[in-house]
Structure formats: structure tokens, C-alpha cells
Amino acid sequence: MKKTVVLMDIHEAVKYGEKLGGDYVEIRYENIQRGHVELKDGVFHTLAERHSEGYGVRVLARGAWGFSTTNLNLRRAVEEAVNLAISSSRAVREKIELYETKPSKDRVKSPMKIRPENIGYEEKTEHVLELEKELKKNPLVKSTQIKYEDAHGTKLLVTNEGTEIEWDYNHILQYVWVTGKEGDVMGAARHMIGGVDKGWELFEEFTNEIISKRLHKQLDNQIHGVPVKRGEFPIVAGPIIVGIIAHEALGHLAEADLTINSPFRDMIGKQIAPEFVNMSDRIVPGGFGNNLYDDEGTPVKDVHIIEKGVLKEIMLNREYAKKWNMEPNGHAHAEDYSNPPIIRMRNTVFEKGDHTLEEMIEDIKFGYYMVDFRGGQAELNSSFQVGVQEGYVIENGEIKEPIKDTSISGIAIEALKNIEAVGRDFDIEYGICGKGQSAFVSSGGPHMKFPRSIVVGGEK
């Protein structure tokens, strides 16, 4: 449908929602084309395009939310959203209110240099075939799965408060899974990159050779690595693992809808870590969670979650900003038009310190150096888990043999107090966070040392 026609329809629908009783009426529209290329062991079982077009209508009426999504009938969805809100409002004791913000009007352009939509499928298929060829140069590799995805199109947000934002939406994503085998011993490793600011140029930074080299090393480590001892050990975590700890252990607890039910609720303004520890959710160059506005139209701001060891700020949408009496900072995010926005992280990072890796490991008699992750999960009681797909034994101050895959866990509010050193380096990783809905995120930081409070899972 033509954009001008859509906009007219949306404005009319917003007014209709107001007329029906909506105090706040928000309509999000998407018209997005996604390309999917999936190569599994030499065969493109999937060469697909997905065209998504539809509306998400969210209405706040009499202190309760109604949300309706459709790709069939916008007017009907508006009626449903208002009716749903009114129906819910009959049972509401404490009315939901929104923090007042200045309406935003903007057109957000994509900063991508080489838009994936301008790359033909011939080149895309050739790229993944080359990557597969590179991966299979190592005889350990028995099977590969490469998923490439890109998207382009328009996202619109219109509210009855006067917000009107149009995004020139783009993303690119590549996920690789390799399975290795030597005799009866198997191993597996994953790699993912993605961009919303960087397009096809991402592959200049992450060449097929770089990705293959990293995955070959991880497969080799897993197949030839030593089993891990289970229990509490000194851990030095590399930037990728540090990033996942930032995301899982602390980031989720600093999402205001979870903060309210977590130990962080009563810790805001208090010292929760040594004063050399700083952590943020912020715009990072190349960050997968970067944006100018969130899905409520609030400008995205850096959130200084931990500053000099003090729990300072949390991530908010307009509803929780009102509850907490804090200014919203642009963290409402919806996976797509068919989901309402909820509070999400963007790029969650520990900030740099002044130690070197060598200084961190020199006094460790026995411990582990954890480098790369596979999955992670948080819980309200601040227990966190991070799957590890690359790690090494530290013995007498030296990094020794690789370990088989494992997990680490801890209670975040205890582990934080025990951070002993923060590195002077910095790197980020790309991921997809699941909190009922998917969201593109980055996480990262410097090397960090946890002399205690981290438990390692192992068979020994």
C-alpha cells in the first residue's frame, strides 16, 4: 500500500480510537521485506522472502491497556483495542498512567553504507557458499548450517499526542552453526553477527576467514579440550562473557518492569559493586540495539546503570517511568507490529578499567578463563546462567589447555561485590534476547576478574 494512503488511514484510525474513548492511542505500522538464505551442507533448502504488512494498535483507556493486531482490518482492530482496554479497566484498582513526554516528529534514515537490498541474491548465495567452503576446509567439520537474513522497509508510529515517526528500517544478520566430529567425539560451535547501522559492509570486518578461524578453534577446543571441574573457581571472563554477564545478570534486573520485583528495587542509589565498576545500556558504535527512538517515540538515551559501583539508573518505558517517577529513556521495544512494546535492553556493557589480562591471571593458582558464550538466562532472584563454548584452564598464573563446553552461574548481587579487576580493553558481541518477544541486542565490555562467587558446571 502507498505510504501516504497508509498515513492518512492511520491518522483517521487514531482519531477514531480517541472518539471511541481512548485516552492514548498508538498505531504502529510495518511494511517490511525480509530475505532469508539458509545453506545446509551444500543445499539452499531455504531461499525465501517474507513480506510483512500490518498494524499494532495500543490504546490506554480508563487506566488500562488494550492491544489489537491485524493485517486484515485496521478500523476493526481500533474498535477491539478500545473495547479490550475498557473491559480491563473495570478490574483496575490503580490506573495505569504514562509519563508525559514531548511528541516526536522525525524521519529516521538508515546509516547503512551498503544496503543489503541492493545486493542481489546471486551475491548473497555466493557469499554463504564461500563461507561454507572456508568452514569445511577443516576436516573436523562434519556439518554446517549458515543462516543469512536481511530486512528493509518502513515502520511508522503515530499517536494521538502528535508523535509521528517514520523509520527507514534495515537489518542484517548472519548465524553459523558448525558440528565437528573426530572418532566418536563431537563438538559444536556457533557464531552470530548482526547490524542495524552497518549493512553488507559488516562482512568487510567479519570476513569468512575470520569467522571460520574462530569456529575452527572452538571446535578443536571442544573435541580435544579437558572436562571441566564443577564448583566455585576464580574466573577471568573475556569481553564476550563479560557482556553476557552484563546482559543476563544485571541488565534484566535493571529493566524497570523486572526491577520492581527484583533485589535491585531497594538498591537504587546504593553501592552494589566496587567503585571501579561502571556499567551502562547505551549507544555503541555498531551496536545491534542502536536506534534514535524507541517504539513509543521516546528519544533513546544512555542509561548509566552502575556508576562508580552505585546502582544509579534503570531502563524505562513511559508507563514505568511514571511508576518510578523517573524520566523515560527510550527502552520500549516491540519485536514487530503484532506485539506491544515492552521494556528491553539495547547494548549492555561494562565500561573499561585499567588492568591487563596478564595482571588478572598472574596470581590464580587454578581457575578458568572464559572466552565465548552459547546462550544465557536470568532470574528474578538475580541468579544468572551463561553457557560457555570457549574457555581455558588457568594454572599457576598461565592460560593452559582448552576446556569442553560448560556453563557458569552465580547470584548477581553477590558476584558484583566480588569483582576484583576490570580490563583496559573493550569489545562487543551480537545477540537476540528473548523476553516473550525477540530483540536484537549487543553486549560487551573489557576483561574482568571474579576471584569467587562464580560456579562452573562440569562432569568432574
Partner: protein, 440 residues
């Protein structure tokens, strides 16, 4: 169907799957109703093949004209694809099981708002310190139709209603883990009482935090926890594609004992306790009962049409499509673990020192190729002298096959698990499980 005739201009073979999904639900957070939501979405996936080259198009519509445009896009993609030399063709029509005749009712928004309001009142009257982190009650209706150029034309409807409850409480400076339970029913008349009872009982135990002192212990997994571990660490090994590629750890184990003999595992789309019974998979192949494990012996892989033909087998009716990418994979329709003889309460009663786990953190980071598991049991509860005495957090580590070989007992109360994949899982006791305490 008109679209198939239209597509024959572009393709040698064509398959169109349409999906219409309606949902309605009411949600609560922070001890009160927060929102109601509805969705009404149509979607179609077109998979066409020309000279062994595949093109796929996915559109957010079921309208014929839009499907035709999708066919044209899929045809353009097929032209740039490489030929799949092994392409075995699309499936042929088969004989379907009798359709599930139970009507799929959906509740109205007021009904679910009332249901949650009453549940909230019940919770607040019984436990003043219980916080409803989240609750949701609602119905989902899905209608699919699969047609292909070989004559398959099958449609089916499926509807379920659900009540999900997540509670927490504060104790001192700490909080409990989120305590979760759900019930899934065929119609919206959901009895919320048993979910509330279960959550409130666990919440009380969760406030008494203890350290997991044992290095090896008997561990009972509740249905959801068991479902999480099996989904990520075990089920991939049943996938026929992995058998063909030599990446299933069970590749050469057909007919061999791979688990404790108490285990019988069937993919049963028509199980009597199932709330939704599917007669066709996502390729339109009739679903069937497939025995995977019997008395601990591995009986067979699951296949979709493509990998079944490549392996010289038939599809077992386990073609499963990603509606996000259109990719056709292999998955269990309704994995059932056969029940044992005793109630879980009796099994707990016989445990001197051990644990019972409601859910795992990080089950998804298990290694699907090797079966390695290192997941955090949280919430987990301490059993002392046959009674639950408190809660704890611990890391469970090892290999899923070692776990499945150490099954002590299976309960007689299998429960539908819908949140990860569909299945019927009982409580299962594992002996000598390796653990490391996380709670200090």
C-alpha cells in the same frame, strides 16, 4: 485450488500453506489487571520447485491475489537458487486420522478479565505477600490448510485455552525466584485453583533458602523442567536429517539400549490427554504415532518428507515449518513419556535427601549435538526425609544420556507442556545427579 493452477505456470511443483490465527487474552502484572490483547492474523507460505530449484515466499495474508504475487516472488527466487540434485519431490496424499471433533471455543475478553480478577482476589486473600509478576488467561485458535500440486488438500483447526501464573515474594533483602505454573485446556472453562494452589505452595517453600550441600543427589524434574532439558539436549538426536549427516549421537544406535528401561517415549499426535490433535504435519503428510524409545531401546528417527526419502525411509509425519523463514525442519508433534505407577507425592516421600526442580535456567545452552547439559536449577526445592523443606539454586551438569540412564522412577501424572514444544511429561526421578551449589 486456484492458486495451485496459477502456480503451475511457474513451477514443476508447488505447495501453499495458509494459516489463520486468532488470539484473545487478559493479562495482569503487579497484582492487578494490566491489559487485554487480541490478534487476528493471516499468513501464507509458498514453496515452489522448478528444475530442482526451490523458492519460498511468506506473506502476511491469505488473500488469493496476494498469494499469487507471492508465487511470482518465489518463482524469481527459485531462478537464482542452485539445483538440489537430491530433490525427491513434494509429498503425495495419504490417509488421515479422523479429525478432532471437539469444538474449539474461544472465550470473550470480559470472561478472561473476570477469570484473572477472581484469581488475583483468591491469591491476595490467601497470601498477602504474594506478588503476581504476571498472569495471563486466553484462547488461541489456529486454522491451517495445506495444498500442493500432487493433490494434497488438508485443513485442520486447533484451539486451546490457557491460564499462566507467575508469582514472587520478598523475604528480607532477597526475593524468591519466579514461581510459575500453567494449565492448558480444550475450552475456556479453566479451573485456576490448581495452578494457584501449586504456585502458593511453592512460594512458601521458596522463602526458606538453603544451600545445596550434596555433590551427587537424587533429583526429581517436574514436567516443565524435564521438557526443557529434553527439548534442547535430547530431541535433536531423534532428527532424521542428523542421522543422514552423521551428526546424531544416536546415528548408529538403532535397536540398542540408550536409556533406562523404564523409559517409553512416543510421538503421539492423538494422545488421549492431548488438548489438540493434529492429523497432518506442515507438509500435509498424515501424522502418526511413532515410538522412539521403548524399554530404553532406540526404535527410530523422526522424518519429514525430504530427509525420509533421502534416507530411503518414509516421512513419519514430522515435517515442521518455520513461519518466520519458511524453512522445513523436523520436530516432534506431541512427545509423550509413558507414565509410571505412583503419584509424585509418594516418590518425594521416599527421597531422604534430594531436590525437585520446577524449571532450569539455560537449558537452551545445552549442546544439541553432544547432549552436554550445564543448566541452573531455579526454582529448585530441597527434599529432606521425604518432605520439601526449602528452596535452593544449583548447577546440574552432565550429559542427557547419562541422565536418561539413571532414571529411578516416573510418576503417574503426566502433564501437557506447551510453552517450549508440545508434549506430555510426567515427574521423573533421576539418581546420582552431579550438582554444584549456586546458593551460598
Amino acid at each position: 485450488m486456484n492458486v495451485i493452477r496459477y502456480g503451475e505456470k511457474f513451477f514443476d511443483e508447488l505447495e501453499v500453506q495458509t494459516l489463520h490465527r486468532k488470539e484473545i487474552s487478559a493479562k495482569a502484572e503487579l497484582n492487578q489487571i494490566s491489559s487485554s490483547t487480541s490478534s487476528n492474523l493471516g499468513m501464507s507460505v509458498i514453496r515452489g520447485v522448478k528444475n530442482g530449484k526451490i523458492g519460498i515466499s511468506i506473506i502476511d495474508s491469505t488473500e488469493e491475489e496476494k498469494i499469487k504475487r507471492g508465487i511470482e516472488r518465489a518463482a524469481k527466487l527459485a531462478m537464482v537458487n542452485k539445483k538440489d540434485e537430491k530433490w525427491p519431490g513434494l509429498p503425495e496424499p495419504g490417509n488421515y486420522h479422523k479429525k478432532d471433533e471437539r469444538t474449539g471455543e474461544m472465550g470473550e475478553e470480559d470472561y478472561f478479565v473476570n477469570l484473572i480478577t477472581l484469581a488475583l482476589k483468591d491469591i491476595s486473600e490467601r497470601k498477602k505477600d504474594a506478588m503476581v509478576v504476571g498472569a495471563e488467561a486466553g484462547s488461541i485458535y489456529v486454522k491451517t490448510q495445506i495444498v500442493n500440486s500432487n493433490g494434497i488438500d488438508v485443513s485442520q483447526e486447533d484451539s486451546v485455552s490457557m491460564f499462566v501464573l507467575v508469582l514472587m515474594a520478598r523475604h528480607g533483602e532477597s526475593v524468591t525466584p519466579s514461581i510459575f505454573d500453567l494449565d492448558v485446556t480444550k475450552n475456556p472453562k479453566i479451573d485456576t485453583t490448581k495452578v494457584i494452589d501449586s504456585c502458593l505452595t511453592k512460594l512458601e517453600h521458596a522463602k526458606k533458602v538453603k544451600k545445596a550441600d550434596l555433590k551427587e543427589a537424587p533429583v526429581i524434574m517436574e514436567p516443565f523442567a524435564l521438557g526443557e532439558i529434553l527439548q534442547y539436549a535430547l530431541l535433536p538426536a531423534f532428527n532424521g536429517e542428523r542421522k543422514v549427516k552423521g551428526t546424531s549421537i544416536l546415528g548408529d544406535k538403532l535397536g540398542e539400549k540408550v536409556m533406562d528401561e523404564k523409559i517409553k517415549m512416543i510421538d503421539d499426535p492423538f494422545h488421549e490427554k492431548s488438548v489438540a490433535k493434529l492429523i497432518a504435519d506442515d507438509e500435509g503428510v498424515p501424522t502418526r504415532k511413532n515410538t522412539i524409545i521403548e524399554k530404553g531401546v532406540f526404535k527410530g528417527f523422526l522424518w519429514n518428507h525430504y530427509w525420509g526419502k533421502i534416507a530411503g525411509e518414509e516421512s513419519t509425519g514430522n515435517g515442521m515449518r518455520s513461519f518466520r523463514t519458511g524453512a522445513m525442519g523436523i520436530g516432534a508433534i506431541n512427545l509423550v513419556i509413558e507414565e509410571g505407577k505412583r503419584k509424585v507425592e509418594d516418590i518425594i516421600g521416599d527421597v531422604k535427601n534430594g531436590y525437585i526442580v520446577s524449571s532450569f535456567q539455560g537449558a537452551h545452552s545445552s549442546n544439541p549435538d553432544t547432549g552436554t547439559v550445564a543448566a541452573v536449577a531455579n526454582p529448585a526445592f530441597v527434599i529432606e526425609d521425604g518432605k520439601i523443606t526449602g528452596s535452593t539454586v544449583f548447577m546440574l551438569s552432565g550429559n542427557v544420556y547419562d541422565l536418561m540412564n539413571s532414571v529411578g522412577e516416573i510418576s503417574n501424572d503426566a502433564k501437557p507442556v506447551y510453552m517450549i514444544s508440545r508434549g506430555m511429561y510426567p515427574h521423573t526421578l533421576f539418581e546420582n545427579v552431579k550438582i554444584a551449589p549456586v546458593t551460598r
